[in-house]
Amino acid sequence: MTDTLLQARGLSKHFGGLKAVDQVDLDIHTGEILGLLGPNGAGKTVFFNLISGVYRPTSGTVHFQGKRIDGLPSHRVAACGVGRTFQIVKPFASLTVLENVLVARGITRYGTFRRLWGPWQSKSETRAAMKILERVGMAELAERKAGLLPLGNLRRLEIARALVVGHQLILLDESFSGLRHEEISQLETLIRRIRDDGITVLLIEHNMRVTMGLCDRIVVLDHGRKIAQGKPQDIQENDLVIEAYLGSRGGRHAA
């Protein structure tokens, strides 16, 4: 029996008449890399936003380590140990790479009003932040302005920030898109290492090869509904999934 880290039940988000996410049940098991797959507009990012507190669900519940987190504002979800990246990379451009990580380190300290007046540049803080940067292989870029980094490094920086916040679970929103071949394989190694360090990973990915190779389990969404879940090879052979991606077989063959 595997441990469930995050449990979503009947999770829905409707925007007017559009059911962006509709009655989705999903379990994330501790220590796995779970892939969230689906064609454009399937509701993957909305689902992320529901878990991370950006949106309040229309209905349904989310439990994280047994604690109910749906409807909490995103800074509170983050404080529970859920870190995330964004589909469009958004570093704090005018801060250095190190400062970007230090902002995230603040999560351990933003809690009380009094602590807000404390210093942020202590030696132990900087050391801890550098350790994270070493983990994602960016230590030598620590003093660079984040706004000047190329995309591959920005993606790593986002993961670094997410790691600081998400000491339990990190949500990666299309971290591979737009990357070159060798950058993709480096990032795959990094994500595997993160998982081996005991952090659970939920990732949205378009690149089939990456998803199939990297994920332990895959959940497929289409039009806001969960249409399949299972091991990568099962998903590859699932008729519903093939239909969602390629259109129904009969129709195409006739043409």
């Binding site: 950006v54 964004f86 958004k90 902002v103 603040g106 933003y110 007046w117 404390g118 942020w120 920030r161």
Partner: protein, 287 residues
């Protein structure tokens, strides 16, 4: 020469006061990208609240404290009740809201305190200096000292403390700051508390400096500080301070010396137009 130095000292004092008001505006613009025109009304309220506390208690310390507390509450109320709900609209919507608040507060001041000029008969307990025949009055000393302390504190907070880092993060991207565990809404409110407290200090200083408090005392500063944050570079706090100082000195010197047939208040706007034409990012701003 003596006159020149006296004018220069007055100019620096003027510039300091501009800087105090403009800082709040720069702070708010930096975080919410809203032109907080009503900030000048907060400054007026600060002068009134300070005067009120002073005439009841006779203590200047309580006057400053009372003004700061009252203005903080007012500032946060404006943020929570007006700006926050309007943030999802294009920037001119909160701007119109802000102008409306400014006019209403002015009218409320007129209704509550009357349309007259009230006097603020207090002397600030600061020493007077003689420097080579030039007298630095206790009020001038007070303006210099208080401005220096406020700027120093603000610099310390924004560069050295956790709050400063959280504020910088929030000003760059609110959703991301949230994802980093920052309660950005609280940070925004703290920024309003800081900006409004400084506005209260400025209002009381001006009230004492000119010995006048009246409902429309914020009108000219409202437009002038707007010009100043543009000149300084939108959202840049060092830029706001430098632009304010330059303007204060330029106003007093140019208008006092050269026979320029212009009202002194025009200078700020000429500077703004010039900056917009030749260096639209402002003195210290980034594009």
């Amino acid at each position: 020469m003596q006159l020149f130095f006296e004018q220069l000292l007055n100019g620096i004092a003027m510039g300091s006061i501009y800087a105090l008001v403009t800082l709040g505006l720069a702070l708010v613009y930096g975080i919410l990208r809203i032109l907080h025109v009503a900030h000048a009304a907060v400054y007026t309220v600060g002068a009134y609240a300070g005067l009120f506390c002073y005439s009841y208690t006779g203590s200047l310390l309580l006057a400053f404290l009372g003004g700061m507390i009252f203005c903080s509450i007012l500032g946060v109320a404006i943020e929570r009740l007006v700006y926050y709900p309007l943030l999802k609209y294009p920037p001119y919507v909160p701007l119109i809201g802000s102008i409306a608040i400014m006019l209403s507060i002015e009218e409320i001041c007129r209704l509550v305190a009357g349309p007259y000029i009230l006097t603020f008969p207090a002397t600030l307990p600061f020493p007077e200096f003689q420097l080579g025949g030039v007298t630095i009055s206790s009020t001038l000393t007070a303006v210099y000292v208080i401005t220096t302390v406020v700027l120093g504190l603000l610099w310390f907070i924004s560069t050295k403390t956790e709050l400063g880092l959280a504020m910088r993060a929030t000003s760059q991207d609110i959703p991301i700051a949230d994802a980093m565990g920052i309660n950005s809404h609280a940070i925004v409110s703290i920024a309003f508390v800081i900006g409004s407290s400084i506005a209260a200090i400025a209002g009381i200083l001006v009230g004492i400096y000119y010995n006048q408090v009246y409902p429309t005392m914020g009108t000219v500063p409202a437009y002038k500080t707007l010009a100043l944050i543009v000149v300084g570079g939108l959202g840049s706090m060092p830029g706001a301070v430098i632009a304010s100082m330059l303007l204060g000195v330029a106003e007093t010197l140019l208008i006092g010396y050269a026979d320029i047939p212009l009202p002194r208040d025009a200078l700020a706007f000429i500077a703004m137009i010039a900056v917009l034409m030749w260096r639209s990012e402002g003195l210290m701003g980034s594009k």
